[in-house]
Point group: C2
Chain length 297, copies 2
């Protein structure tokens, strides 16, 4: 069974203006993540702009990633969609293309009830047989998973992990306790929102779903290793070094900053899908100065 513990790196999905994925640039982004030995790759996550791509382009991206990883790194794939039938098809595509698991958000337009989200997840898991990570991302979907709903879903066959937003830094241990109490032991509990994830790991979280690791995997792996070896002081020291980066993520969103970083590093010249715009010149400069001062690679 797939384990989604440790560092899951979430790259952008480079594409052209017409929404076609640039698989060459994608491979250039993924290669260093595989080489650095991240524990998994979160392809077509929110940072990978999954809802902005057609089913065909999403499949092309998954096929490029699984071919490149060739079994070395599990590929977790964003399979979220507004419609249940579309999410089922995306999950089936991902499974057939060799993805290790699907990352399923409660994508919504009409606000959804708990029963609707339960039914949606259950249907996708049942119809695809792809292991599913519950993607709780209220910042984009505006749906909030209660521990009660996570508990109901945690007992559905095929649901193997939860990705929660580490928004309440003061109560990560409490949040973890609440979720552990309601899900079976095998379900991995992990966090996103990079700036709080070192604390989430120290509180006992299984997985760091990281935007920064999609472009700078090594320093994130250093943090993971420090936590694993019980060296909380070193983990916090490394995290503190990244504070200027977290400020940029909070000010401009990780997605927009990582597009700027990928361009700065010469990996690709892609822009986010419109209406999302590249950062304005002054913000780009701030990103450039921050990376230079951080001396990370």
């Amino acid at each position: 069974m797939i384990s989604l513990k440790g560092l899951s790196a979430f790259p952008i999905t480079p594409s052209n203006r017409d929404g076609q994925v640039d698989t060459g640039a994608l491979r250039a982004l993924l290669e260093p993540l595989i080489a650095a030995k991240v524990d998994s790759i979160g392809l077509l996550g929110s940072t990978g702009s999954y809802p902005y791509f057609s089913r065909e382009e999403r499949l092309r991206a998954v096929q490029a990633a699984t071919a490149l990883a060739d079994g070395r790194t599990p590929i977790l794939v964003g399979i979220g969609a507004l419609r249940t039938d579309e999410a089922v098809r995306l999950a089936q595509d991902a499974r057939d293309a060799g993805a290790a698991a699907g990352l399923l958000a409660a994508v919504s337009y009409t606000p959804l009830t708990d029963d609707e989200v339960f039914e949606h997840f259950q249907t996708v898991a049942r119809e695809s047989r792809l292991p599913i990570c519950i993607y709780d991302n209220p910042g984009t979907t505006h749906f909030r998973f209660t521990p009660a709903l996570i508990g109901r879903l945690g007992r559905v066959e095929g649901i193997v992990a939860v990705k929660s937003p580490a928004l309440d830094a003061a109560n990560l241990a409490g949040h973890l306790r609440e979720l552990r109490a309601v899900v079976p032991g095998g379900v991995a509990l992990g966090y996103s929102a990079d700036w709080n994830c070192t604390e989430a790991l120290l509180a006992g979280g299984d997985t760091w779903y990281s935007v920064l690791a999609g472009i700078f995997p090594r320093i994130c792996l250093d943090i993971i290793r420090a936590v694993r070896s019980g060296d909380a002081a070193r983990a916090r020291q490394l995290d503190a070094r990244l504070l200027p980066m977290w400020e940029l993520f909070k000010a401009y969103s990780g997605l927009r900053v990582v597009y700027a970083l990928a361009n700065l590093r010469g990996i690709c010249t892609a822009e986010p899908p419109r209406p999302i715009l590249s950062l304005p010149a002054d913000a780009q400069r701030r990103v450039q100065e921050t990376v230079a001062a951080l001396e990370i690679d």
Copy 2:
């Protein structure tokens, strides 16, 4: 130039499980709206579940509606999409199919900045030459239009109307004043959120974008006529009669209630697009009892 004043009726879009629009059932819903002489029809609005349908199905729905209306009733069409290029194509399709205007929401997944939304709207208006109504619907898109942004957009060629949510019942006159101060005189300012729209009209709003009118147009037209004739007391009396319906809309969403109503009235047997579920049996019963007690038709 298209005028979007008065009553704009927003029907559901009946479809099958696979997301194919049932144009026969759609015509059965639209015919009474045209016969009742609503001022416009808001096809494929949020109640019409526009983001849940493919471009092809949206076009089929618009073609069915414009053919049926045959110039008698202007068709306002939801053209929102996550991607700018897709919204442009939807606007062009709507224009070519004879729509009078496009209703454009700031559909988002990655939260958008004001500049991104401005650019999105400007591009769609420019590339389609379809008159555009700004659709401010934070309940579904989670983007909030400031008066400053409405002011910037109001000066863009082709932007002819604004549909705002009448959420702050106590400050409708103030909100209208704020918007009137920043948009050119020709821009129609209207409201949705049925339960506050009588007050919005009495405060001077130009348009009522109505979910209830998509299934019960006559009582809504009675309210419009009472407001137009200066009879605020009668308008409020009619609105008060509808209070039990507004309670249902607030409890279950207008969309889910109207699906139940359309089924109850035998107009169609459609269900909302999954993951949205039909109302559970107890709620259906409440809807049935409410309509029976209201004696509206």
